[in-house]
Symmetry: C2
Subunit: 340 residues, 2 copies
DNA sequence: AAACGTATTGGCAGCGCTGCCAAGTGGTGC
DNA sequence: GCACCACTTGGCAGCGCTGCCAATACGTTT
């Protein structure tokens, strides 16, 4: 842990190379260098070669900070997400990142940890970088966050949900419908004593909407959730394992359990495997998200697959383009798996 | 999928509010506004109140682009990582992000997809933002990438590996040692016919080092890898499942298999569960990374836990501070699990 | 030959802020 | 009363680049 000191020079750095240095060395005007580097405007082949060679020789790296200040657009896109270890958002980023890079944009991101006030503060500090676009998770924000986003004068994409009004661009699907579809699926397979294991729904707004849709659809079929175990923390496999144990302890005669997401459901599946509970014979399990690990488990999990990568890609493309604002509903897909 | 058009005004935006606007409205000089906003220099309470109130009234958001250009430091830290969906890097980011945010920095990131040339290009475009620090995975880079990093005059942290020379700051652990430790552990449990399932090692330099250490340690014990299945792609649960199937097909009498990481190992475990191969009775499995899902599987996986979050935190803290450069070895921990 | 487009080039203001400096104010000590 | 100091304040030159404009060169049209 102790640092082994490095002989890296502590000396004064030479002053950084600027565009003016390149211009002088190449014997051309600053504008010409700028034109060559941005590939805009016409420049003679001879001048271009001279500039490029000088750039290489001096190791010049353009200063985008200065460029951005001088021009209008910043070529930065801000991403504000609740979590980075949650694979859902990692997938969104993995869709957005190459799209942005490919279009010459840079991604700046910040993690709210599911805290609306933190989101508000982070949106503010992101806007200070004058990004040309902002991608943010969900449709629920604090009043000040709404005001800032509306007033920013940039493209805003809200993702992963379509169940409320959007500010500008919305890319996602209906979480209410996803919950409803799950309820109908379980009912269609003859399940009647259905339990629920979820996590902190005050923080996970979209999880709450799924549960709401789930209950609604059950009610429509004259049914209801027999018992629910809500663990007051963020979802994890461990929580699912424990949550299902507690639920079954309290209400042993369930024939199916709906989980707020695949992490929890996988924990539930592991619990059943460890306890010798036969799935789906004795108990059916259904998750949500369509994670790889759930698909490849010894018993593929019944779940709903959401096109998260695509959402990231589309949101990125839309905030960088002038395609019309509006709602882009990408839908979801119910995976029957082998646990129901 | 079709956008439902939104009535958002297409009108001309009012010119954005600048610090000069605030100064004029508040009846003070620009310097005073700047001092209030940055909490530097002395300002009378009365002036401060007037400024803060005006800022709130106008909804002024400072322009960090301009601020950065005018001052020296940029308060940006660049992160260049191979992947974002790989939980290892997501964990690193989740450690780095709050640390940076807490210190008033903004994280900018880019994903190389394990391609050295892409890394080179991305490092270049990140440096164009004049970050005050750069965090990059691993110690292997292209010559031009090395040159750019050395010449950038900023703090550089190379993470997740200590098995080669670093440029400036190194935060990680020895992958060679991790491989060696795994070999010794398997040998100590009496395993003699040991197989290996790995992925594209030309791309995963650190995985290659672990395998190298593993083979080295086995050789030291007068043993060797009985058979190895290298799948030419990035690791995944699916690949682990298929890889183990192929390996066992070819060499059925193995008594242990070492996997390049937990994704592959988990796939292997799932394969055994599906095929009724008893673990560790018939076959022992060992992974690497210490993922939650591996710890919580019906049979906890033998693996090596690496402090990825801590690495992210430390790297973030170090690039923002003037703590000494050098190697910070955070070590790793062997988890015996129940699969060996 | 004059007038006119097109390609190429350099100069320079200014993007919004910070750093530095000079100036003003009021309290203290001698 | 004067020198001195700490605190407070505003003015203004840049930071490194881009956008605009004017200038030049050269071929074409009438």
């Amino acid at each position: 842990m102790a640092p082994q000191d490095n002989a890296e020079g502590a000396g004064d750095r030479p002053p950084p190379i600027t565009l003016a240095d390149v211009a002088r060395e190449a014997g051309v005007g600053e504008s010409t260098v700028s034109r060559v580097l941005r590939g805009k405007g016409s420049v003679s082949d001879e001048a271009r070669q001279r500039v490029l060679q000088t750039v290489r020789r001096l190791g010049y790296v353009p200063n985008r900070i200065a460029g951005t200040l001088a021009s209008t657009g910043s070529r930065l896109v801000a991403l504000v997400i609740p979590s980075i270890t949650n694979i859902v958002f990692a997938d969104v980023l993995s869709g957005a990142s190459p799209t942005l890079t490919g279009a010459g944009y840079q991604a700046v991101f910040a993690v709210t940890d599911y805290d609306p006030k933190a989101e508000e503060d982070l949106i503010e500090s992101m806007l200070a970088w004058r990004p040309s676009g902002l991608i943010v998770a969900g449709l629920e924000h604090t009043p000040r966050a709404f005001a800032m986003m509306r007033g920013a004068g940039i493209r805003i994409a809200e993702i992963l949900d379509t169940d409320a009004e959007g500010i500008d661009i919305v890319v996602g699907y209906s979480n209410l419908d996803a919950g409803r579809a799950s309820a109908r699926f379980l009912a269609s397979r003859g399940k009647r004593r259905i339990g629920y294991v979820g996590h902190d729904l005050a923080r996970d707004k979209r999880g709450a909407k799924r549960y709401q849709g789930f209950c609604q659809a059950l009610a429509g079929l004259g049914m209801h959730v027999a018992d629910a175990e809500i663990v007051p923390a963020l979802s994890s496999i461990e929580l699912g394992r424990n949550g299902l144990a507690v639920l079954l302890d309290r209400t042993p005669d369930l024939d199916a359990v709906y989980f707020a997401n695949d992490d929890l459901a996988l924990g539930g599946l592991f619990h059943c495997m460890a306890k010798g509970i036969s799935v789906p014979g004795q108990l059916a399990l259904m998750g949500y998200n369509g994670l790889d690990v759930a698909r490849l488990a010894p018993q593929p999990l019944a779940t709903i697959r959401t096109p998260r990568r695509l959402i990231g890609e589309m949101a990125a493309r839309l905030v960088c383009s002038d395609e019309p604002s509006g709602i882009y509903d990408v839908g979801f897909e119910l995976i029957e798996g082998a646990t129901v």
